[in-house]
């Protein structure tokens, strides 16, 4: 038992690894210790003086974040002295806080608000006017800084120092005039800016993209996996289902893959899911005119086209943006059941697929490359990677092509260009969630697909680790299907009367 220590935390014996702090132990035991400056992903600063706990035998209260648990220690988090310390600590933080909660985006998820309701609830005793500081400072393409709201917890400074190693932020001036800022007119430019917004316990850092868009208490959250690259960060998508609008993405803690962070590119992976950029209904070219049709009609026409051309003249064009379960259902139906032998992988022309920025982002911007390859390895047939060979694919003259289109627009910039190369095939069925795809010529039908936040399943990330898309929102496009649902509809016996 040399490498663990057992101590008493609020009448309960707690055993934790040696070297853990009381704060870490309390987190594990789900004992709440209010804190601002401590963050599990950053070093200990001990500046907010808020996580006070009572230790038997100590002359005064100790801060839990910097207090190593030792054998036989007796810690209490609920004595009257501790509560008194929280109250005064909070009042100290609020001395120069502007209390502009009505216009602050953090309201609703703010540490100051939460702890005021939990441990505060006192009338302010401040009689002096507040210190005024710069407000709404533009600090980068995605950041706005309000130095008045800042409580100088230094989380952001430590993030810049330890995670991105860019050291762009610092605390300037002293005393009640101390402010967070960059050196001179410098702006923060790295790809991890919005993590500063996440870790800021108050509303000092706000996101330009989310600023004033919505109050946080209206948002619903679902955990899923980021489709932006092959790292597969665990994320939480925030949306309003009543408006069918997605508002923001936040990282979720996953020590194995993304820790506590995610990149800014991943934050943009929801914009294409919103109603205005979605393909709402199935469309078909009928006698040279594009028409909106019910999904079963579009699927029926695809089925008839396959039956007429035969499986040997049918090809699949598959991007790596779908879940393992969807590939399974897709290949089960088309390859095993119908006997299609030609499969093109559609993963773009990017050359730097092995790129890695040292933190999270990877060059392979397809979320499920490993999953696609794993599913492909289980089936027989000609599996070509369609880089510049899309033209060759047309030259091979498949009569029917079913294309599972890439989902996230900014990671698949090659998509529109590739669509143009498909002209000449007699029946092309695009399975996509993007409205822009309907502008392409030479396509026969468009089947509306669900986005990543609207389905459950798994991605396999670059290591081949299973990443679970846990929860799903109802689809923002009314008649969108997941690939599994579309294949189920295709596999149904054909109705005798055509719709």
């Amino acid at each position: 038992m040399a490498d663990t220590v057992t101590f008493r935390l609020n009448d309960k014996n707690v055993t934790v690894p040696k070297g853990w702090t009381v704060m870490q132990a309390a987190k594990q035991e789900k004992v709440d210790i209010p804190h601002f400056c401590w963050h599990p992903g950053l070093s200990v600063a001990g500046v907010c003086r808020f996580c006070m706990v009572h230790v038997q035998g100590a002359r005064k209260l100790e801060i839990a974040c910097n207090l190593q648990a030792t054998e036989g220690m007796v810690v209490r988090t609920d004595t009257p002295e501790v509560k008194e310390a929280h109250k005064w600590g909070l009042e100290f933080h609020l001395i120069n806080h502007p209390l502009d909660c009505p216009v602050c985006d953090q309201a609703g998820e703010c540490g100051l608000q939460d702890f005021y309701m939990e441990v505060g609830k006192y009338p302010s005793q401040m009689t002096r006017p507040k210190v005024l500081k710069p407000k709404a400072v533009d600090l980068g393409p995605r950041l706005i800084l309000d130095t008045e709201r800042c409580i100088l917890c230094s989380r952001c400074v430590r993030f810049e120092e330890e995670v991105t190693k860019t050291n762009a932020l610092g605390i300037f001036d002293r005393g009640d005039r101390a402010i967070i800022g960059t050196y001179g007119e410098e702006k923060i430019a790295h790809n991890y800016q919005e993590n500063l917004v996440d870790i800021c316990p108050v509303g000092a850092f706000t996101s330009k993209k989310f600023r004033f868009k919505q109050r946080v208490w209206f948002l619903q959250e679902k955990s899923t996996i980021c489709p932006g690259c092959s790292t597969g960060c665990k994320i939480q998508v925030h949306a309003r289902t009543d408006r069918r609008t997605y508002y923001r993405v936040k990282p979720q803690t996953d020590e194995a893959v993304n820790g506590f962070w995610m990149c800014d590119k991943g934050r943009d992976t929801i914009t294409h899911l919103n109603r205005e950029s979605r393909l709402p209904q199935a469309q078909m070219m009928i006698e040279g005119k594009k028409q909106t049709v019910p999904v079963p009609q579009a699927l029926n026409s695809l089925q008839r086209a396959i039956a007429a051309a035969g499986a040997q003249h049918t090809a699949l064009l598959v991007s790596a943006h779908y879940t393992v379960e969807e590939y399974q259902a897709f290949f089960d139906y088309f390859c095993t059941q119908l006997g299609v032998k030609t499969i093109y992988q559609w993963r773009g022309d990017k050359e730097d697929r092995d790129a890695f920025d040292g933190i999270l982002w990877r060059g392979d911007e397809n979320p499920n490359t490993a999953g696609l390859l794993a599913s492909l390895s289980q089936i027989q047939g000609r599996k070509v990677e369609a880089r510049n060979e899309l033209v060759a694919c047309v030259a091979q003259d498949p009569k029917v092509l079913i294309a599972l289109c890439p989902e996230v627009p900014f990671t698949s910039t090659w998509f529109q260009g590739d669509l143009a190369k498909l002209e000449g095939i007699s029946h092309v069925s695009l399975w996509t969630c993007r409205y822009e795809a309907t502008e392409a010529a030479g396509i026969t039908s468009w089947i509306p697909m669900k986005g990543f936040a609207e389905k459950t399943g798994h991605f396999l990330n670059y290591q081949g680790a299973k990443r679970e898309l846990e929860e799903a929102f109802p689809s923002a496009a009314a008649s969108a299907l997941s690939v599994v649902e579309a294949v189920q509809q295709l596999a149904l016996p054909q109705p005798s009367v055509t719709l």
């Binding site: 502007p98 209390l99 502009d100 909660c101 009505p102 216009v103 309201a107 009338p123 302010s124 401040m126 009689t127 002096r128 006017p129 507040k130 005024l132 407000k135 709404a136 600023r211 004033f212 868009k213 109050r215 208490w217 209206f218």
Partner: protein, 199 residues
């Protein structure tokens, strides 16, 4: 489940005795009504009835009628788009779209502020929730319109309709962001204020 038999109370056979209570009360009420009716008919007493809509009838300012948005000193709407009214609204009839104001002093303001008056239940929660006295319910009660579109009151209508005669100013100070909220004057300040004759 068991059935418990409870004896009925004996039925009152005297109908007149049973109805006596009602009859007297009705007569008392009718007497009062008729007395007032004749007194007003003979102009002995002032009648509260007005021939609306020919004669105007006004309610007090505290009446919860048509909403309006108050203004700042410079004529812009006072609303800071905090969404508290929309949050409190039980009918969910307030739709706000917030935006960045060109002036950093104001920061957040409503680009769109709409009330779907057909959904509104005139509970006044929006008025109560507002931290800056930006929305109030006024004494206008006659709400008549023809098309459905006109029942959605826009920001301009709520702040600037003719009945408001150029708009009403908010009672909350505009620079609340930059002074200490709940600032109690110190003993010294209080003394000097009393000396200068304004408290």
């Amino acid at each position: 489940m068991a059935i418990i038999r409870v004896p009925r109370p004996p039925r009152d056979t005297n109908v007149f005795a049973a109805a006596w209570g009602y009859t007297t009360t009705i007569c008392t009420g009718l007497t009062l009504t008729l007395t007032i009716f004749f007194r007003q008919l003979l102009k002995r007493e002032k009648s509260e009835t007005v021939e609306w809509p020919e004669q105007p009838a006004t309610y007090g300012e505290r009446f919860k009628g048509k909403h309006f948005l108050t203004k700042r000193e410079d004529g812009q709407v006072r609303c800071t788009a905090c969404f508290l009214c929309a949050t409190a609204c039980p009918a969910q009839c307030i739709h706000i779209e917030a935006g960045q104001h060109p002036s950093n002093e104001i920061e957040k303001f409503p680009v769109r502020f709409e009330i779907d008056i057909l959904r509104c239940v005139f509970c006044g929660y929006c008025e109560e929730a507002c931290p800056v006295d930006a929305i109030r319910l006024g004494p206008e009660y006659a709400i008549v319109d023809t098309s459905e579109k006109k029942w959605v009151y826009t920001k301009d209508y709520l702040a600037d309709r003719p009945a408001l005669q150029g708009g009403i100013h908010s009672i909350k100070p505009e620079n609340e962001k930059h002074t200490s909220i709940g600032h109690e004057p110190t003993a010294g300040e209080r003394k000097s204020q009393a000396h200068h004759g304004h408290s």
